[in-house]
Amino acid sequence: MPALDDRAWSPYLAGALLGLLQIPAFLLIGTALGASSSFVTVAASLAAWVDPAIQQIDYAAKHLSGAKNWWQVALVVGIALGAFLSARLSGTLRRGIAPVWVRALGTKSPATRFLLAFSGGFLMLAGARIADGCTSGHGLSGMAQLAIGSFVAIAATFAGGIAMAHLLRRV
């Protein structure tokens, strides 16, 4: 039986339980699981402090208010809390940078890693917003709804990811 202080659960069990989160998403909120549009809600809210004109952009206005947008922001904040809780219970809290990056980048320099993480984050959200979804919205949710656009987006995501990953050193 999986215990709360286990370091790892079966990927099939954990994955299936992730899929069950669609029940409250559809029945309580009337939407599918997703993560990346919360970045627009937060970024546009912060930007509105220095550039109130951003609210004139339809895309920003659509993400700035409303229960579903703030539901998703709360969801990703909850993700950080839940991951902390799980790691705390199993004694797997992390510090610094994952050891895999020394292998993948061939350097221990934190500055190199931070720069790459920042660039990766930028591309990730730019791409997710162009495609209108990420691994959660197109992946978990779009594929579970048999949406053709999500199949195409996820195929492209894996293609882009595999190509870029092969430019790094083998881990």
Partner: protein, 208 residues
């Protein structure tokens, strides 16, 4: 639906989401990068199990008349270009948008830079969206789904697809048992591949 209710539900769901991302190990950069280098298949297992469960859940809810679906519109250029850029970003970040937050919760420092880059990426897109819309974000097939395309009721196709995925996962597990992919430190880091370029640390990473 009030914003307060939505935020409360979101927080509660997020805690479960993050807990499962951590327990499944899919938030680990070595799991994500290992998957994209086709060395570690944990991510695919978790992802496909999540899709299969989602198919069963949504097939059931739709058959019971409890909900409609919310598929995204298929816009070929946006899906392909956006997907390629998203994938490249995932490889460099060693994270996807949701798991970035799980990495922060678990304690990885570089994930804060991924988050900052992500916010800037989302903001840049927001400013460019009116310009990009006519070029990249229009056309396509609308909210096209496989069941509509084939003329089969959604629940039956969803259950069938879930069964196919389950069979695929059984085969995947026989080929690559998941316990061997978790790694000694539960971070998905496997022993260095043969012919590695000599930069890999020989010692096991210390427990944080």
């Amino acid at each position: 639906m009030s914003v307060t209710f939505a935020v409360f539900v979101g927080l509660a769901m997020g805690v479960v989401f993050g807990f499962l991302l951590e327990k499944s190990r899919v938030f680990e950069p070595a799991v994500i990068l290992g998957q994209l280098q086709l060395r570690n298949f944990l991510m695919l297992k978790i992802f496909l199990a999540g899709v299969a469960a989602g198919l069963v859940v949504l097939g059931t809810l739709v058959a019971a008349g409890l909900t409609g679906l919310h598929p995204k519109a298929a816009i070929w250029s946006a899906d392909i270009v956006g997907g390629l850029i998203l994938g490249a970003g995932i490889a460099l970040a060693g994270a996807c948008p949701g798991t970035t937050l799980a990495q922060i919760g678990a304690g990885y420092k570089d994930a804060w830079f991924t988050l900052a880059g992500g916010l800037l990426g989302a903001l840049t897109f927001t400013y460019l969206e009116p310009t990009l819309r006519p070029v990249l974000l229009t056309g396509g097939a609308g909210k096209l789904t496989l069941d509509a395309l084939l003329g089969v009721p959604f629940p039956w196709l969803a259950f069938g697809a879930a069964a196919l995925i389950a069979a695929g996962l059984v085969a995947l597990e026989r080929w690559r048992p998941w316990r061997e992919e978790v790694g000694a430190n539960a971070d998905g880091l496997l022993p260095p591949p043969d012919g590695a370029s000599g930069t890999a640390p020989a010692t096991a990473p210390s427990r944080a």
